[in-house]
């Protein structure tokens, strides 16, 4: 049956931008569908997020399709970093433990970890003993293990390929336990700065919740911005 007088009164003009924001463009999705592409920066200032790190995420729905990491601060000036390294190391590891537990939604343990961190910071006597209790409580939780198990597993070859420290081996649950041990041992061996360029392909393919858990699990103390975009352009 032909359409006869097909009076296509389609009045879809293409450049509509409601409220001044352009419409989302479609992009090929990993399932072969066409999904709207959303650019969401996981900003420099975000609760439970390493300070200064900006992750420009391209989202399909809530799955990160592409990411690009960048460090805003040029890098900590050497002065304040040298002296009380051990205390800062342990305190920073505990900060990351607080972030990971809060992102996993376990408010009670996150609050306890925050209290242990404060005690550790002002050198309270029985901070170590409270840390032991926190460590036991985290290890006993079945739901936390089930939730973090097999999330972004990193084998020895993945680590060497991305020149990451050996302490980050295993999946997010192993990294959480490693962080607690590191805090327990007084954070003597601080991890060398984390190469930010390694972050995107750890995170691509995960949804927002899993991605933030992985970033919190990497125990980022200092971020090595590597070659900033400007330098890369000048080299290319």
């Amino acid at each position: 049956m032909d359409h006869g007088d097909m009076d296509m009164d389609m009045d879809m003009d293409m450049d509509m931008s409601p409220g001044g924001i352009a419409l989302a463009k479609g992009g090929p999705d990993r399932d072969g569908l066409e999904m709207d592409v959303l650019h969401v920066p996981l900003g420099p200032v975000l609760p439970y997020w390493p300070a200064g790190l900006v992750l420009h995420c391209t989202l399909h729905g809530d799955v990160i399709a592409a990411a690009e990491a960048e460090v805003l601060a040029p890098g900590p000036d050497e002065a304040d970093q040298a002296d009380e390294v051990s205390a800062t190391g342990a305190v920073r590891s505990l900060d990351n433990v607080v972030s990971l537990l809060a992102l996993a939604g376990w408010d009670a343990a996150a609050a306890e970890a925050r209290r242990v961190r404060d005690d550790l910071l002002d050198g309270d006597g029985h901070a170590a003993e409270r840390l032991q209790r926190l460590d036991r409580r985290v290890r006993r939780s079945v739901i936390l293990r089930w939730s973090l198990r097999r999330l972004a597993p990193l084998g020895p070859d993945d680590l060497s390929a991305r020149d990451l420290p050996a302490g980050l081996a295993g999946d997010t649950y192993d990294r959480l336990l490693a962080m607690l041990d590191r805090a327990g041992r007084g954070g003597l061996a601080p991890l060398q700065p984390f190469p930010v360029s390694a972050l995107p392909d750890l995170v691509v393919g995960l949804d927002l919740a899993a991605a933030r858990l992985v970033v919190a699990g990497l125990d980022l103390h200092e971020l090595d911005p590597g070659r900033t975009k400007a330098q890369e352009e000048s080299h290319a």
Partner: protein, 319 residues
Amino acid sequence: MPELVPLATAVQAAAPVWSLLAAAILGCLVMLAAVLDGVLSARGNGAAGAGVGLRRPFAEAARLMRQRRRTTIEPDSLLWRIGGAGLLVAALLMVAVVPLGRWTVFDLDVGVVWFNAMDVLVWAFVWLVGWGANSAPSLVGGYRFLALGLGYELPLMFALVAPPIAAQSLNVGAVAAAQHGLWFVVWMPVAFVVYCLGVTAFSVWGPFAAAIGADLAGGVRAELSGVDRLVFELGRYALLAAGAAFAVPMFLGGGAGPLLPDWAWVLVKTAVLLAALVGLRRRLPVLRPDKLMEVGWLVLLPAVLVQDLVVAVVAAGRG
């Protein structure tokens, strides 16, 4: 013209006075839940004494009442408001079928299915709150709630089926009356646990609060402020209270109990179960929807089906 005998009696009982009383009781339960939650989280954070916790919900409510409402660019404010206020409406409609001793606001002969229809309404309302704000985190939170829903809804439905099989009626009063010998919670433990998980899930509470997760800056309620946020929070508490109230006639023997009159027992049992559910919030990590989906379909659903089979065999055996 055939007159409508059964429905007329049901609607007759829903004289406005009774529904106002039901709303008032739900309000008291909401306050109980809010105060208990305040005390628990204050103690959890090591704050000084329970006094702080006691005042927290009322101080928070006053603050939200005064707060000016923030809005976003091009929000769909009609759907946004409907979603926010809908949670309270759904909770009230759920409580309408719960018998308080001898009185029920809306004594429907398919009360159990009505409760199930109301908790599916919550799917629509929470997604609308996420959608209406036109912001990325709240939209992702709304979709997360739907993904959670696909995980917990079918087990919850089959858990709701078990008591009516034993009571051989879908009327909530009949289900409560059928437990005079032995409470259903005793020989339907799996259905009771899955039901409680379902109640926690549709009130976006405790381990099922991925939709308002901290990793999404508050998810569905990220853009809510002022009175909208207060209504949303009251809605969540009201759903928790309504779920606890509905568990009493279904699993905990309705008004049965020594000494106290039956309506008093219904309130006591509801308060106890509500306190247990409120306590869940801080104690367990949040279950992510992609993880819960497989557990819901491959673990919870078969367990509840086996429970229904056992109940059916016992009910058939008893004749």
